[in-house]
């Protein structure tokens, strides 16, 4: 029992740091499959955190949510994305508009900004400032990925990271939303990814590429 308690305490204490590390690695990543694996790791870290909370709060609902996260975000969605990448036979290059070092610098800046924003609130609301800052950082990072990466698949991954951030924020502030809402959100997410998968093939077949910056040619 001591070991599990210890693991739970450890998971809660340092998950924020591991989330930041995954964000920095995602900024530096050059291939789409690396980003997918990093997203899966992020979700796994969050699942570990939910498990720790579930163990501490002894709530069955929380166990169910953790199981949902693992099934949907750690396994299903990454698998679906891998299948899409393989079937597309497109290049794995991330097509970023900023160089690796610039992305990491911007990501570091976003992390510091999220801390700067969170610190005054965390003190008054007596929340874990690390996790809340991690949530805001995930949100900003997701938005940054969507803005700076030109491949359509990276837009999806950016959206997923953003959703991760919102989920973590909900987790930190209210210890989770009601189970029904959680299940609804996950279904939406899953459907969204499948629809995106379909659309990506349509886009590729119509335009011969997946570069969103070339959508500008649709202007009149």
């Amino acid at each position: 029992m001591g070991l599990i308690e210890f693991a739970a305490a450890k998971a809660l204490a340092s998950s924020a740091v591991f989330l930041f590390i995954t964000l920095l690695m995602m900024a530096a990543a050059k291939r789409i499959s690396t980003c997918i694996i990093l997203f899966s790791t992020q979700s796994a870290i969050m699942a570990a955190e939910i498990l720790a909370l579930a163990y501490a709060g002894k709530s069955a609902e929380a166990y169910a949510v953790a199981a949902l996260v693992i099934v949907v975000k750690v396994v299903a969605i990454p698998y679906a994305l891998f299948r899409i990448v393989k079937d597309l036979k497109a290049s794995q290059d991330v097509a970023s508009s900023t160089t690796g070092a610039q992305s990491v610098f911007i990501m570091a800046g976003l992390i510091l900004l999220s801390f700067h924003v969170v610190v005054p609130y965390a003190k008054t609301l007596r929340l874990d400032e690390d996790l809340l800052a991690a949530a805001v950082a995930l949100l900003l990072a997701g938005a940054f990925l969507m803005v700076s990466r030109k491949k359509a698949l990276m837009q999806v991954i950016g959206l997923l990271v953003l959703e991760n951030g919102i989920f973590l924020a909900a987790l930190t502030t209210t210890y989770g939303m009601p189970l029904v809402i959680e299940i609804g959100i996950f279904f939406d997410l899953l459907m969204g990814v499948f629809l995106m998968g379909l659309f990506v093939f349509r886009i590729r077949d119509t335009f011969e590429h997946l570069d969103v910056s070339k959508l500008r040619r649709l202007r009149g």
């Binding site: 690796g100 990491v104 990501m107």
Partner: protein, 312 residues
């Protein structure tokens, strides 16, 4: 007792440095499905080189033969800074990481000058590329060590290691994570490993360190190769000492003294395997992508320093 341990650990670093290179090369060979040379090969190489003549280009001045000597002397002195077996070192208490980094800079500066003294294009090319890498690698290295020193409230190497040893290994601050990331990237650049430089290449397009030592032969080359190996061992020992020093002898009991070298050898072996795996799984970066690589190290180091202020 302490003084004896200090001297022994410095000599240990210098003595096993070629073995570390041999192990890395052997593991790399195995990963690449080759048999690879024996792990003791670098010692045989050094012995062979020491017995040969020193070939000196006719345009070279006295600096050409002086540079390897200075490089070797400075690197061995730097090796006496790092706590290996116990959290103190020969120069560990008075010497700090700033002095350590700049001592290594002396060696590098004289090696660059020696390279240019040969009067060939290779020397200048190697020196110019080395200047690029070192100019961009020094700032993240010092910033990462500064962040760790701020947490330890001291600048001496032994003080930093002591402060890490005293902490609970599973409750390390985020600063250590970022500093470790920055230092791994910088260590790859400073020791000239893939993806920054290929230590086993002889194509001028891909050489950085090899180009600088192209004109050297005989005992001078042996001194340079040994100094390079000591630098690799030194940086690995520094990574181990600053970020994972548990296992060092904090008391003078027999059990601690027996455990310390075993723990150190184990950690070095893990690092050597990690280096070999990284070298075999990545391609060498194009030279103008190296600043990008080091820029990532700088970002991580800046983040580490910013977090020391945030986490207070």
């Amino acid at each position: 007792m302490n003084l004896a341990l200090d001297v022994i650990q410095a000599l240990l670093l210098v003595a096993i440095a070629p073995l570390v290179r041999g192990v890395v090369a052997r593991v790399k060979a195995r990963i690449q499905n080759r048999r690879g040379a024996s792990v003791w090969r670098p010692y045989a190489d050094l012995l062979k080189l020491f017995r040969k003549q020193d070939l000196v280009p006719e345009t070279a001045s006295g600096l050409f033969r002086l540079a390897p000597v200075i490089l070797f002397a400075v690197t061995v002195t730097a090796a006496a800074f790092i706590p290996v077996l116990h959290p103190s070192a020969l120069f560990g208490a008075g010497g700090d990481f700033i002095l350590l980094v700049y001592l290594l800079a002396i060696g590098r500066f004289f090696l660059m000058l020696g390279a240019m003294d040969g009067g060939s294009s290779f020397g200048g090319m190697g020196a110019s590329r080395e200047a690029l890498v070192s100019a961009l690698a020094e700032a993240p290295l010092l910033l990462a060590l500064v962040s760790v020193a701020i947490l330890a409230h001291t600048v001496t190497m032994s003080g930093i290691v002591l402060s890490t040893v005293r902490q609970n290994p599973l409750h390390l601050s985020a600063v250590y994570g970022f500093a470790l990331g920055a230092m791994i990237l910088v260590a790859i650049a400073e020791t000239g490993r893939i993806p920054v430089d290929n230590p086993a290449t002889h194509l001028e397009l891909t050489m950085i360190h090899e180009a600088m030592v192209l004109e050297y032969s005989g005992p001078s080359l042996a001194l340079i190769e040994w100094a390079n190996a000591v630098k690799l061992a030194l940086i690995m020992a520094m990574l181990v000492g600053v970020f994972a020093p548990w296992g060092m002898a904090t008391s003078t009991s027999i059990a601690a003294l027996v455990l310390a070298p075993l723990a150190f050898v184990f950690k070095l072996a893990v690092l050597a395997v990690a280096i070999a795996v990284i070298e075999s799984s990545m391609a060498k970066l194009r030279m103008y992508l190296v600043p990008d690589f080091l820029g990532m190290a700088s970002a991580l180091a800046i983040l580490a320093v910013a977090f020391t202020a945030l986490m207070r």
